[in-house]
């Protein structure tokens, strides 16, 4: 038996090529099962995410399996497809499952996506001895890398860094209330990230009320007129400010005015505007934690660099784990 991986990803192919070969997650099992009917292919798992489409195959003759797959995908964009065999294919799967081959290094979503792809292929009867052992091993390696290295530590985007800091201040974000001042793209992303982690109430205020309503609707929140946002400040935990105002919008007296009503609860202020929206003096108020775009960018950059420094360690772990087991097909 020979193990083969044929695929394309964000590095080998642009999105207009990748989208041609994307497979809906609901069809992954069925597709794997159909490929198994091709000559030379005995086992298959089809992995398809927004950044990659990969076919993991096992057959008596690798060349024949590859020929069969190529006959299905055709000659279109053939230069974008990569081919890995035996141990190289096993190593690649481990790297993919560990997030080492992802666009955002160390991201964890891919682990679940591969697990789901394998589950569907297995349920459709498209896997057997070779791929079962390979995928189980890859999941074990992925878990080990996540626990023994810091490849997934630290957020790599501004929005992610803001969420991490919010969690450091409030713990679980369930029930946290957020106000977005200025309905720009960056504030939308940051608010969305907070909502995805459990923040419940989102207030949106903008000089153009229509835009505020639009974003509030998208977030399942409430739009507030721009001259009324100060009234909301007493009840929120997080303020995201991103207006295009040439001068500070949030001043120390705004926060001082509501401290007593807030019972001096912690307040997290995220200023992602340039020029800055929040007067730096606001950060001197005791229960206020103020972060601007530069600090958040710097945090994200440091996390990316920390992750990059972990790559060699992850690869060493993968080799160690693969060497422990004489995987069939490799």
């Amino acid at each position: 038996m020979e193990l083969v991986c044929l695929g394309l990803n964000h590095r080998s192919a642009p999105v207009e090529v990748r989208e041609q070969f994307a497979v809906l997650s609901s069809q992954l099992g069925e597709r794997a099962s159909k490929l198994r009917e091709l000559p030379g292919i005995e086992e298959t798992v089809v992995v398809s995410t927004c950044n990659r489409t990969e076919f993991y195959l096992a057959g008596e003759c690798g060349d024949e399996a590859v020929r069969s797959i190529r006959s299905v995908i055709g000659e279109v964009a053939s230069e974008h497809w990569y081919e890995k065999r035996r141990l190289e294919a096993a190593r690649h799967l481990c790297e993919v499952a560990s997030g080492l081959d992802s666009m955002v290094l160390g991201e964890t979503e891919i682990f679940g996506q591969i697990k789901e792809a394998y589950r569907l292929a297995h349920a459709a009867g498209a896997t057997s001895g070779v791929l079962n052992r390979l995928f189980q091993r890859a999941f074990g390696v992925g878990k080990k890398i996540r626990t023994e290295t810091s490849i997934q530590e630290g957020a790599t985007s501004v929005a992610g860094s803001a969420v991490e800091l919010a969690e450091k201040i409030f713990g679980k974000l369930k029930g946290c209330r957020v106000i977005v001042i200025g309905a720009g793209e960056m504030s939308r992303q940051t608010a969305q990230a907070l909502v995805s982690r459990g923040a419940s109430s989102v207030f949106v205020t903008n000089r153009s009320f229509d835009r505020a309503e639009e974003l509030a609707e998208e977030m399942g929140g409430r739009a507030v007129h721009f001259d009324e946002w100060q009234g909301v400040l007493a009840g929120v935990d997080v303020v995201i400010s991103s207006t295009s105002a040439p001068h500070p919008v949030v001043m120390p007296f705004h926060v001082e005015a509501v401290r007593r009503v807030r019972k001096y609860r912690p307040l997290f202020l995220i200023d992602i505007a340039v020029p800055r929206d929040i007067d730096p003096a606001v950060g001197e108020i005791e229960e206020v934690y103020l972060y601007d775009i530069d600090t958040l960018e710097q945090l994200a950059a440091e996390a990316r660099s920390r992750r990059e420094r972990q790559i060699e360690e992850c690869k060493r772990l993968i080799e160690e784990e693969l060497a422990k087991l004489n995987l069939p097909g490799t």
Binding site: K168, I169, K263
Partner: protein, 259 residues
Amino acid sequence: MGGGVDRWFLILAALFTAFGGVMGMLTLKHGRRSRWTLAWMALGFVCLSGFLWVRGEARGACPLVGSGEILAFLAWSLTLFYLVIGPTYRLSLLGVFSAPLVTAFLVGALAPGMWVNDPQRVEGTNGWQETHSAMSVLGYGGLALAAVAAVMFLVLDKQLKDHHLTSGLFRNLPPIRELLISIRRLLWAGWLVMSVGIVAGFRMPHGQDVHLHLLAALGVWLGYALLIGVAQFRGLAGRHLSIGAVGLFIVSLSVFVFI
């Protein structure tokens, strides 16, 4: 009965907690959370319980005679509060911060002048007096742990304010809000237990010297009541609450001067 066994219990407890603290800090330096601090603290607690049992047998009463025994009892109650609160609120780092304080109390208890080699049986024990001593020191344990949590808050608050966010300590400290909740709960728990001790103190038979320490204890009790009341009803910035918890605990130790 107390022919050295009690001393060894105390030495072992000090070694366990010191080792747990040092290991916890070293692990933290490497950016990880120590899984074993809880175990070392639990071992320390067992030894401290052994010490109190041996001394209790020897005294025929609650072993709270002299500063050495009070410090050991205080270390025991602080550890007890940690073992209950730490895992419940997943404040594992509380152990790393508590261990040095417990060790310091134990080293103090073993110091010449504090340590009594030959504990005498206590004659004419009184239920109110026993309750007063035990509940007061137990309450102090809760208040000591509140002070430890407050120190953790002050460290995290400073790091968040100064944007120093890359240390292993920062990554492993519990969130600000959880620390504040723990401080408040520990203050409440310690203060309520202490209240029982104060009430019992006023019911026990008095001598002139006892009166003085009771007045000092009452002052401390009122100080905590004020801190808790202001935090509860008016609200208090986390930093003020923490400074209050640490400051009051340090001041409260002065009560022992009058014993």
